[in-house]
């Protein structure tokens, strides 16, 4: 093993790729395939009971969310192993780059941009119609593979199944989170989210109720009385 490689639990040769807010991501080999090991941290600022509950819950939600997405025809990484001892998930390494990086690089045609945004909208609609809310729809959580422009969704740690009556609110919020994510990461390219939303509206069965709620959530930021 080189110096940059670590052992995580029982898995050797893990190379740290990034350290996000939630945890660490390593590259490694598993079952002879290129794999990613995602390990969640214990957060020392949290009360231990809360920490344990959240970490375990998110581990579970990530796995369940990915399975549910697949059943709705959405591509996700393949889970190879879940290790509760180290709070890690080992999954297939998805080929491609994040949509965030793809947009930043800017080496696409108008047509390709349209296809990718449309696919994002359509697939989020498929998730929502299947009562799956991703919970963290940012452009860093969607991988695009070139040249096919095939999309893979990742990071389902905040995902959940929405219960009937909360549906419109949960979906509206999910869309709002995505809109803000586009605005914050790609301030120089306005209109991206609108294209994705357009495709979403075409695909979903529940546009009216979701759109109403989404509009309301959007205005809350503007309308809040902001006293104090």
């Amino acid at each position: 093993m080189t110096e940059e490689e670590q052992v995580v639990g029982l898995v050797p040769k893990c190379k740290l790729v990034c350290q996000g807010a939630e945890g660490r991501v390593f590259e490694t080999r598993y079952f002879k395939r290129r794999a990613i090991l995602k390990q969640r941290f214990d957060k020392m600022y949290r009360h231990p009971i809360l920490n344990k509950k959240l970490t375990r819950q998110r581990l579970g939600m990530e796995v369940k969310g990915m399975m549910k997405a697949r059943k709705l025809g959405i591509r996700t990484p393949t889970v190879l192993l879940v290790d509760t001892e180290t709070n890690s998930i080992i999954m297939d390494r998805v080929e491609g780059i994040t949509v965030k990086d793809w947009l930043r690089k800017g080496k696409y045609t108008e047509e390709e941009l349209g296809r990718v945004l449309s696919a994002i909208g359509t697939q989020v609609a498929a998730m929502h119609d299947g009562s799956l809310v991703h919970g963290d729809l940012t452009t860093s959580n969607i991988i695009v593979r070139e040249p096919s422009l095939e999309l893979t969704f990742i990071d389902f740690g905040l995902s959940f199944n929405t219960v009937a009556q909360n549906g419109p609110e949960d979906k509206g919020v999910d869309l709002y989170v995505m809109e803000r994510a586009f605005l914050n990461a790609h301030a120089d390219k306005p209109g991206l989210f609108d294209k994705a939303l357009e495709a979403y509206s075409q695909k979903t069965n529940q546009w009216k109720s979701t759109f109403n709620r989404y509009s309301e959530v959007r205005m809350r930021g503007r309308k809040r009385s902001m006293v104090g």
């Binding site: 639990g9 029982l10 898995v11 050797p12 040769k13 490694t28 080999r29 598993y30 079952f31 002879k32 581990l59 579970g60 796995v63 369940k64 990915m66 399975m67 549910k68 697949r70 059943k71 709705l72 025809g73 959405i74 591509r75 996700t76 393949t78 889970v79 190879l80 192993l81 879940v82 290790d83 509760t84 001892e85 080992i90 297939d92």
Partner: protein
Amino acid sequence: MASTETITFESHPGWTLQARFFRDVTNAEEVGNLIVAGKLPVKTSVINAKLVPDVLPLYAAGDKTLRAHKSQKGLTTRTLGSELVFNLSGSKHIREALTKFGVKSKDCTSVILAWFEKEGEMEEEGGDVSGLVKGSAGAMADLASAADIAEVRSHYNITDEELSTSSLTDCVVFRIGAKDFLDKKSGK
């Protein structure tokens, strides 16, 4: 002589899972009875190959088995051999797993023989019981063609939508690796 696939595990240096594929097996029922009678070595499994589309599920099941073996909690079943089959099934029900993936009935004609070996451990009873199986040697590469895709899909509850996103093997491996977090039948 059947070619033996040696599966090594990144997390378990020194351990291997040896696997051999047999087709046109005529005495599956007999072998199955030996298992039930406890007459096979503890590290050996005899698996119904119809339900195994690739070597990868064996990796996944083998890895989980060895992890359980090393853990404080230990195995869920009694032996490494049965644990392998239990994990392969992606099910939480031991009896169901052993029944479906085992080789009890006459119409089981393709069989995978798999046994764990640990470097440096010489046992009187080696795991290799190939001599017991009456069938012709196949290559592990033939697993895909020997598998009954409809049965695999039915057992693991793999839908068309899922297959549009991922290979059959990957769908199976997901259920093996994530078993403890998924609901039993629906794999939700």
